[in-house]
């Protein structure tokens, strides 16, 4: 297999937009091409993530639409849907297309538009990613899924609501340094703890927002990447799944798919958790970040809450997590999130992240979770 690098990245501002998801993707993709300093006609395929286009925009067939709006109507396109992990799944398959030699330059991206519908509707559409017969019928929501995880983690490890709140405070502090973040405002522990209850024990500020946005990146073979200005190498890209039904998971305090995908990614890259300098991970809810830091091997099981409380995951800490602000503050346009996390890690490894730069970062990880913890992707990146 050939080595593969990311040679260009682009994201829109995250937040509310009066543009379609295809327009948001196209803007990010054109920015990624400009960043790669490549003409559009070098792109040989598009791997695309979009989740609820059918519901919020009444739009299926979103990948050729996205390519058309970008201005590349003839290339092969494929849409990936693994709930919130969609564009990270797209990325993994694109890496395989370039590594195999089938293509030399491939575009990966994703976009989502949800703020054009009321919250009760978007909550309903996101719940479609849980099981229709077993989970949607009882009114399970995504905050509800992670509330069940939180309660199990608190019971098993003594994790506290204040430790979860510390994740939100930290990610808002990071987001305040990111001009593209949806929320660029610091918050206090009290703000989180006193916010409205959503699904006990999770409160409003334990939850990431609904977000419109797009993200894109350009992948290239080693031969092409060597002629680019700042290639960042893909050291590994791995995926794993777990039982779809929450009831079939033996221990709700863990996410086995994260543990499996991380083990595979570290093995592919020949790296260990101790080698990681910077992490962008899936903090759709504060407890999700705590469990992910444990599943990625950054902290011992049960100590992810303590790590957040002690500042070990803050900028300047032992291993900075979500310097972009994460899903919590940067925002979570679900089809774009995996690609956007990769854009941030590439920016960090190029040492171009400005005030949120992790000094001397050489190895980075992205982690994206889909649905009720049934899909996880983990990728590793490195400088030359």
């Amino acid at each position: 297999m050939r080595r593969v690098a990311v040679i260009g990245v682009g994201t829109t501002k995250f937040g509310k937009h009066d543009r379609t998801s295809a327009e948001l993707f196209a803007q990010a993709a054109a920015d990624a091409l400009a960043d790669a300093d490549l003409p559009a006609n070098r792109i040989q395929a598009l791997y695309y993530g979009n989740v609820v286009g059918g519901e919020t925009e009444k739009q299926l067939h979103t990948s050729p639409q996205a390519a058309s709006v970008l201005g590349l109507p003839a290339i092969p396109t494929t849409r990936f849907e693994t709930a919130c992990a969609s564009s990270h799944a797209a990325f993994r398959h694109a890496v395989m297309e370039v590594a195999s030699g089938a293509s030399d330059v491939v575009m990966v991206g994703g976009a989502e538009r949800v703020l054009n519908v009321p919250t009760a509707d978007s909550t309903e559409y996101f719940a479609y990613a849980s099981d229709a017969a077993w989970e949607q019928t009882i009114g399970l929501t995504f905050p509800g899924v992670f509330a069940l995880v939180a309660r199990a983690h608190m019971h098993k490890h003594g994790t506290t609501e204040a430790q979860m709140a510390a994740v939100a405070v930290k990610n808002h502090k990071h987001g305040a340094l990111n001009p593209k973040a949806q929320f660029q405002k610091e918050i206090t522990l009290e703000t989180v703890l006193n916010s409205a209850r959503v699904a006990d024990p999770l409160k409003l500020y334990d939850c990431c927002p609904f977000t419109d946005g797009g993200a894109a990146l350009v992948l290239a073979s080693e031969e092409v990447a060597r002629r680019s200005r700042r290639p960042i190498w893909v050291l590994a890209s791995a995926a794993a799944s777990d039982w779809m039904l929450l009831g079939d998971k033996r221990d709700l305090s863990r996410v086995p798919a994260t543990e499996r995908a991380a083990a595979a990614a570290y093995r592919q890259a020949g790296k260990r958790p101790e080698d990681v300098d910077v992490v962008e991970l899936h903090d759709c809810f504060t407890i999700a970040e705590i469990v992910a830091t444990e599943g990625l091997g950054l902290f011992e099981p049960g100590t992810g809450g303590l790590a957040a409380e002690k500042g070990w995951t803050s900028l300047g800490g032992k291993v900075p997590v979500n310097p972009s602000g994460g899903l919590k503050a940067k925002g979570h346009p679900i089809g774009a999130t995996g690609a956007a996390q990769i854009c941030e890690i590439v920016t960090q490894l190029r040492a171009e992240a400005g005030p949120r730069q992790v000094d001397g970062a050489r190895t980075g990880v992205t982690h994206t979770l889909g649905g009720n913890t049934a899909t996880v992707l983990v990728s590793l990146f490195g400088r030359e």
Binding site: A120, E135, T137, I138, G139, L140, G144, R151, V198, A199
Partner: protein, 126 residues
Amino acid sequence: MSDARITLQSFFEQAREGKLVGIKCGGCGALAIPPRELCPECGHRQWSQVPLSGDGEIASFTVIRIAPRGHAGDAPYAIAAVRLIEGVSLLGRVVDIPFDELAIGRKVRFRPLRIHEHTALGFGPV
């Protein structure tokens, strides 16, 4: 041993009548919740229907306060993951237990619910 496939529909038709059932692998005896084609333990494809007691204890729980469009009128409502005494787990709406009495380890019993035209799983006090 029943030759009939245990479909999702047949599970919920029985659940509606108050009868909770699981499926047992003809190869290794593993217990599962239908539908499932292959046994993840041994790979066998022959399952038989077995009754489940409906008795279990709460493994985790939450109170949903912001509900999806289709359940908005019901909020707040409690949902629990329940480990049945047979070893399999199910999610259900918790009814007739005050929110402040919900606890991991609390014993509960299955009861069928009808929620917005759908049969759904519920758990209430023993």
